[in-house]
Amino acid sequence: MDLQYTAEEHAFREEVQQFFAEQWDDEMKSMLENRRGTDGMKPGMIEWQKRLYNKGWMAPGWPVEHGGVDWSPTQHHIFNSERARVGAPERIPFGVTMVAPVIYSYGTEEQKSKFLPRILASEDWWCQGYSEPGSGSDLASLQCKAELDGEDYVINGSKIWTTYAQYADWIFCLVRTDNSGRKQEGITFMLIDMNSPGVTVRPIATIDGFHHLNEVFFEDVRVPVANRIGEEGKGWTYAKSLLVHERLSIAEVADSQGMLAKIRDLARREINGGKPLLEDARFAQRLSDVEIELMALEFTELRVLADAAKGVQPGPESSLLKLQGTEIQQTLQELLMDVSGYYSQTLQGDLSDEEFGNDYADLARKLYFRGRASTIYGGSNEVQKNITAKYVLGLAS
């Protein structure tokens, strides 16, 4: 057992640090800071992803033949830690980490050559069409219908909680092609052009004040059979393999470390009763509780990475990463909001930071409310516990 980086890994870290020093520049920061998750973020995110693409680092997790890099799990960890350290954003996942693995694993040659290069170069923006108004945690009950008509499927129904559908060029969907058997059978994985006639997007106002969620309606939308992934009725299997990727990516350890460091700095700055909030025993206890949990999670993630390095695929135990990662994120968001006191529940609007009296509370409140979603999406944490109980602990359902 040891933690030593090899000489190559040290050299790699220097290369990563140099990349961020050069590319995460003032222009990028002004395009993205305090704007992520708001309507102004799309151009900044595309510009940032193009910079990653130019370096060859847009899709390090992909197979090399499709434009990936042969990074070891440790290299992924190094990259992500350095990214979070400078405060640069994670890539928008829907294209590069969510649909792409399904396309290169189960898609046709035409699908691969049509979609993968455009995802790499951030020419297409993707969104995910899974949940429906009647199908949340019980995803397999979905009813958005696809009926074969000549060379096309005809789609009718709706998808909900569709993040960034307002920006999207394409949506990957689970649709129902058969209602006769088990509900997991009869689901088909479909790629749909958002510009198709009959697709409409309705924004959903959310408690955080950002516009990220939408409902997407399909009314007699014609989708060529060529846009179906793999076999009809096998969509559930393809999607399940994708869920593992999603769960791994939402532990967000490095980002939480950055958040924690910032909370500590702010708590040193905020004065209550003549002394820094950081010296308040209750606050210090709460902060240290979550810091200790985060230190544990960091090593749980390293353990999963070390397994991956040996060729052991991340299995259902990766659902612990999601469970703990999201709970830690929420605790940190709560602490950040608490640090800002009254300011967290007052709306800054057009007031300058100086007029308002605070320069971080507006963001703190939005992050808090937005962060409530993290224990709901990607399979709610209660569902994660069910999965862990069944597949890891072997308890019968």
């Binding site: 992520r36 702010l266 353990r303 703990q324």
Partner: protein
């Protein structure tokens, strides 16, 4: 970066596991605990024959030259099997202090005896007023010609009844809680003026309260007034070791509880099919994995002399206290009435975890230390650096 054991470490692990399977059923353990000193001298001889007692000591001292990972491997199996033999007090504490601070002739005399299983030792550090602050020491040692003479009382001395030799922490200068001014002394447990009252802890292990009246010490261990320099790293590795023991105990509780959930039937189904219990079982599993992760972190950083070693060890000891209580409590709860009985080993594991929480300071004590270390670090992050995408 890797979390794999070497071939040798795997062999040590396997041999301990075999020993536990053969000698540590609940009935066998009860028989061991009921012996005079709360452990089996025959088992201790077996430990020596199998080479386990040599593992932490340097090769120059006749040892195996093991490090934090090797200690972790041994202590985790000891925890899994609820093994009662005094590896912690005799080998890691007493032997560790002699190796860290003893003069060469002391080491050459006593370390081979420990390794051969012929010498039982103990570290007498706690006092009635000291609670978790190891530097709060009023036991005095004064110089008398060439001798050092000790007066005072020590409590809850692990293995204090069986020990033939003691390392005693005494004050030679400074105020009651000063770290400077402490000195470690080697004392014969049967020396004139030593009085021992042996008793048991809740897990059946033997401890003693020991009074010293004009006791002449055999030797100074380390430098006079600088005892903390010898003691602190040895106690830190003992902290790490008991946390590994706790992981083993928690793993065993998890396994037993899952087995029970899968076999016990109520309402015509196994109780493990109930979601309320499934989620509790996941919480237990999750708490145990947190301990494993922090243990790997603390062991790896300690082995590498990494700057994060202290913070990691403090975090681990906090987590062991809290997670240990959660896992223990859930195990009793999910075993229902059976969890309340001495007919299953569940309660014995729970008691061991409670003692481990207290050893060298409980979770609250370590969390306060953690807060001081963590909040002393100045971060360079600026406001604009944090965003959740």
């Amino acid at each position: 970066m890797n979390f794999d054991l070497t071939e040798e470490q795997t062999m040590i692990q396997d041999s301990l596991e075999r020993f536990v399977n053969e000698h540590y059923t609940l009935d066998q353990r009860n028989a061991v605990i009921s012996l005079r000193d709360g452990f089996s001298p025959a088992h201790w001889q077996r430990f020596a024959e199998l080479g386990w007692l040599s593992i932490p000591f340097a090769e120059d001292n006749g040892g195996f030259g093991g490090g934090p990972v090797d200690n972790m491997v041994i202590m985790r199996e000891i925890g899994k099997g609820l093994v009662a033999e005094p590896f912690l007090p005799t080998v890691l504490l007493f032997g560790g202090l002699l190796e860290a601070g003893g003069r060469q002739e002391l080491q050459q005399t006593y370390l081979p005896q420990i390794i051969a299983g012929e010498l039982q030792g103990a570290f007498a550090y706690l006092e009635k007023q000291s609670r978790y602050e190891m530097t709060d020491v009023v036991t005095q040692a004064r110089q008398d010609g060439d001798n050092w003479v000790i007066d005072g009382e020590k409590i809850v001395v692990l293995n204090g009844g069986a020990a033939q030799k003691l390392v005693v922490l005494a004050r030679t200068s400074g105020d009651q809680s000063d770290e400077k001014g402490l000195t470690l002394f080697l004392v014969d447990a049967d020396a004139s003026g030593v009085q021992r009252k042996a008793y048991r802890m809740t897990d059946g292990r033997d401890v003693a309260n020991i009074t010293f009246s004009n006791v002449v010490a055999e030797a100074v261990v380390g430098e006079v007034d600088q005892g903390a320099e010898v003691m602190n790293p040895v106690v830190d590795s003992a902290r790490l070791a008991v946390c590994a023991e706790a992981l083993g105990a928690m793993e065993s509780l998890n396994a037993q509880t899952l087995e029970y959930l899968k076999t016990r039937k109520q309402f015509d189904v196994t109780i493990g099919s109930f979601q309320a219990l499934q989620h509790r079982a996941v919480d237990m599993f999750s708490a145990t994995e947190n301990v494993r992760s922090l243990l790997y972190r603390a062991v790896c950083t300690a082995a590498a002399g990494h700057e994060d070693a202290t913070r990691s060890l403090l975090a681990l000891k906090v987590m062991v206290g809290r997670a240990g209580r959660l896992v223990g409590g859930e195990s009793i709860q999910m075993h229902g009435g059976m969890g309340m009985t001495d007919e299953l080993s569940v309660g014995f594991y729970v008691k061991r975890l409670m003692i481990i929480n207290l050893l060298f300071g409980d979770a609250d004590y370590h969390q306060q230390q953690f807060i001081e270390v963590a909040n002393a670090e100045q971060s360079e992050l600026t406001l604009a650096d944090t965003e959740a995408a």
